[in-house]
């Protein structure tokens, strides 16, 4: 009889902490622990929320009658850490230090590894982190931006892209390592990545380029951006907010949900239809661009993320990219399960845990 593993998975969000306890692949319970503005307002930085969030997790476990001592491992989502290769990492001090300083920026998931480590330490069990957004498998050619002082960084929805790609490969009866895929994560932000034999060799950073999304502006004309910045005399944080939280559908239509846009279209709003189709057009264009990275040798195109549940949107995308390869749709994103599976691969000895930071090749500039 194979050994059973009980895993606690943690995904910190800006106003909630999603947790799940699993006995192998089976869900014991999942819960979204909501945090009030008052509770979170007591902290200057996300990092300082550690003890508060840990307490709420331990309390949730108690309420669900899950003994802490019954856990085999804890796994959490990672944040903007050092560029690393894809995989499951053992949480270590350097990872925690990088989370504290926000190595590549402030991100709520920077607190994930320390939460896993803190809970695991007291229990004497391992703590892991799987595929943080800073996974970097770019090939040298992908690192050029067009200006030597502005590098092109790999900041991607790695956790969901990798997990979905694995799932798709399994369904196709192939190993991920034997396939070439283009995966588009379509959520509040959009990342499109070409996976050559399982490695994300290129991708757009949804916060600073690629298709516009429900909230992000994506790639905007540089000259126009310079004029916008200087004409409006806005502080840096405000400009970032404008491009990352108030761009895309929010900018054009004032809403950030696909359902709301589809409702507008259903009511005959032609402008909403045009904007929405433009988003599909840009996603398709990005998929096409990434297909060229794979020199056209694409086994399948995968659409995933919360917004890929919109048939209207995915039909428009399919119409433009189906000539490249078959399109498979995996709506939604199950980050807890992605974390779980990464953790189980290590616990079962299928993969060796990586030691942070397993570095990527240096920038060839």
């Amino acid at each position: 009889m194979t050994q059973k593993f009980r895993v606690l998975a943690i995904n910190p969000g800006s106003t909630s902490t999603k947790i799940g306890v699993f006995d192998d692949e089976e869900v014991v319970f999942e819960e979204v622990i909501r945090h009030s503005e008052v509770d979170l307002g007591a902290f200057d930085k996300t990092w300082d929320q550690y003890e508060f969030r840990k307490r709420t997790i331990v309390e949730a476990l108690r309420q669900h009658s899950v003994e802490l001592g019954s856990l085999s491992a804890v796994v959490a989502r990672g944040g903007l850490l050092r560029p690393v290769v894809s995989g499951t990492y053992q949480v270590n001090k350097l990872m925690i230090d990088d989370g504290r300083i926000g190595y590549q920026g402030e991100h709520v998931a920077n607190v994930g590894p320390v939460l896993a480590f803190g809970i695991s330490w007291d229990l004497g069990i391992p703590a892991y982190m799987v595929d943080p957004p800073s996974v970097d498998e770019f090939e040298p050619l992908a690192r050029f931006s067009g200006h030597k002082d502005i590098p092109r960084l790999s900041l991607v929805h790695a956790l969901n892209i990798k997990a979905t790609a694995r799932m798709a490969a399994e369904k196709m009866g192939k190993r991920l390592e034997d396939l070439n895929l283009v995966v588009a994560h379509i959520g509040g932000g959009i990342s499109v990545s070409p996976l050559r034999k399982g490695r994300m060799i290129d991708a757009n950073d949804g916060n600073s380029g690629g298709p516009f999304s429900p909230e992000r502006a994506g790639s905007v004309p540089t000259m126009g951006l310079i004029d916008y910045v200087f004409d409006n005399d806005l502080p840096k944080a405000e400009i970032k907010r404008e491009l990352v939280s108030r761009g895309g559908l929010v900018s054009y239509l004032g809403v950030n949900s696909a359902q709301a846009v589809e409702a507008m279209i259903a009511e005959g709003n032609e402008h909403a239809r045009l904007v929405y189709e433009a988003m599909a057009y840009q996603i398709a264009k990005e998929i096409g661009a990434m297909a060229t990275v794979l020199k056209g040798e694409v086994d399948a195109i995968i659409l995933t993320g919360g917004v890929s549940g919109s048939k209207m949107l995915t039909d428009w995308i399919k119409e433009r990219v189906k000539f490249i390869a078959d399109v498979h749709i995996y709506p939604g994103e199950d980050e807890l399960r992605a974390l779980l599976l990464g953790c189980l691969r290590v616990l079962r000895g299928i993969e060796k845990p990586k030691t942070y930071p397993e570095s990527v090749e240096p920038m060839p500039l």
Binding site: E51, K54, K93, I96, R100, V114, F117, G118, W121
Partner: protein, 362 residues
């Protein structure tokens, strides 16, 4: 071994068992020696496995307090209160007020203060029933300041050790492993980092380590079970007593043992073994004396300046202990005990001189 045998072995004056069925209070107050003055000792609350463990801890710790006061040139005796209970579960106002009444019953033979497992809030309840609570440095963050004084004393003690071992009293570039980062260990880690030492910490509770790491990001961490495998210059036990024992004394990879925890050695023979291995041991009751410098001898709160100045004297006191040990070719622990007992004996003899003639009512 019976209670009287234990008292005889440790040379105790009095052991008091306090019980209150309403509050669940089960406490032991051990008074070791009052030759120099009232027995001063913290009230430690701990969930001991057995009653015998609680008794032995009270006896050992109160004896250390006697030696500590004597070597530190304080006019207090040695005592300790052990409250046998779970600090997270068993505390209540009535619990501590019941304990306070037992302390009051001793009419000043025993004076207490907050220790492991108890805090200022608990002391407030005790104080409602008795005046025999040590008046420590009065600041808004008294608990933290007390830890700072103790930690500063340990730092000064480490400097004395470094002078003996490395010929230079600086801890700069020395690797120091701190076992236990509660308030004292945390403050010590901060001091050591400021002094340029390379610091490694461990604790059974991660949150305590995170608090240190957030303040001093450069500290390294290791798992508690790996602490004795760490190569270091100074091993600093700042958690519970008895951590160095027969099983691990030969595993230590350090040149100095110097920490804030009481009764670090399982027995005196462990001190001899360290000595034989060439590891300098700073006797626990000498190096951790910063704790009692917070109250002056006459039940008056010391000012912060006074407390830190006296904690700084630990440097010289330890050098005297090491010199005596070198001269007599014994382990520092035994030399420190001798110094303590000599002072108790001589002051005890002085106290036989009648200075307040009895009122004969003539």
């Amino acid at each position: 071994m019976g209670i009287f045998d234990l008292m005889d072995a440790h040379e105790h004056e009095e052991v008091m068992f306090c019980y209150n069925s309403t509050t669940g209070l089960r406490a032991i107050i051990a008074i070791h020696d009052t030759t120099l003055g009232r027995a001063l000792g913290g009230a430690r609350m701990w969930n001991y496995k057995t009653e015998a463990d609680a008794v032995v801890d009270a006896l050992r710790l109160s004896r250390s307090m006697t030696y500590q006061a004597s070597v530190a040139d304080c006019d207090t005796g040695g005592g300790k209160a052990v409250l046998w209970g779970d600090p997270l579960r068993d505390k209540s106002e009535a619990y501590f007020r019941a304990f306070g009444r037992f302390v009051e019953g001793l009419k000043g033979r025993f004076v207490t203060y907050a220790d492991l497992g108890t805090n200022d809030r608990d002391l407030r309840y005790i104080r409602r029933e008795t005046d025999y609570v040590a008046p420590f440095v009065a600041t808004a963050t008294a608990g933290t300041d007390g830890a700072r004084v103790t930690a500063y004393g340990v730092l000064c003690g480490m400097r004395a050790c470094a002078k003996m071992v490395f010929g230079d009293s600086s801890v700069r570039d020395k690797r120091v492993v701190v076992q236990g980062v509660g308030e004292v260990g945390r403050q010590l880690a901060r001091y050591l980092s400021q002094e340029g030492a390379a610091v490694t910490i461990t604790d059974v509770v991660f949150d305590a380590m995170k608090r240190v790491q957030d303040e001093v990001p450069g500290v390294e961490i290791v798992r508690p079970e790996e602490i004795f495998d760490c190569d270091c210059d100074i091993f600093s036990p700042c958690a519970l007593g008895g951590v160095i024992n027969r099983a691990n004394v030969d595993k230590l990879k350090c040149k100095i043992v110097a920490g804030a925890a009481y009764d670090v050695l399982e027995s005196d023979e462990i001190g001899d073994r360290l000595h034989a291995r060439g590891i300098l041991y700073a006797p626990d009751f000498v190096i951790s004396a910063g704790e009692i410098f917070q109250s002056a001898d006459k039940m008056r709160a010391a000012t912060e300046k006074e407390a830190f100045e006296r904690a700084g004297e630990i440097f010289d006191v330890l050098l005297r202990v090491f010199e005596r040990a070198r001269r007599e070719q014994v382990a520092p622990l035994r030399a420190a005990r001798k110094i303590a007992l000599e002072r108790i004996e001589s002051i005890g003899q002085v106290k036989t001189i009648l200075c307040r003639p009895p009122d004969l009512g003539l």
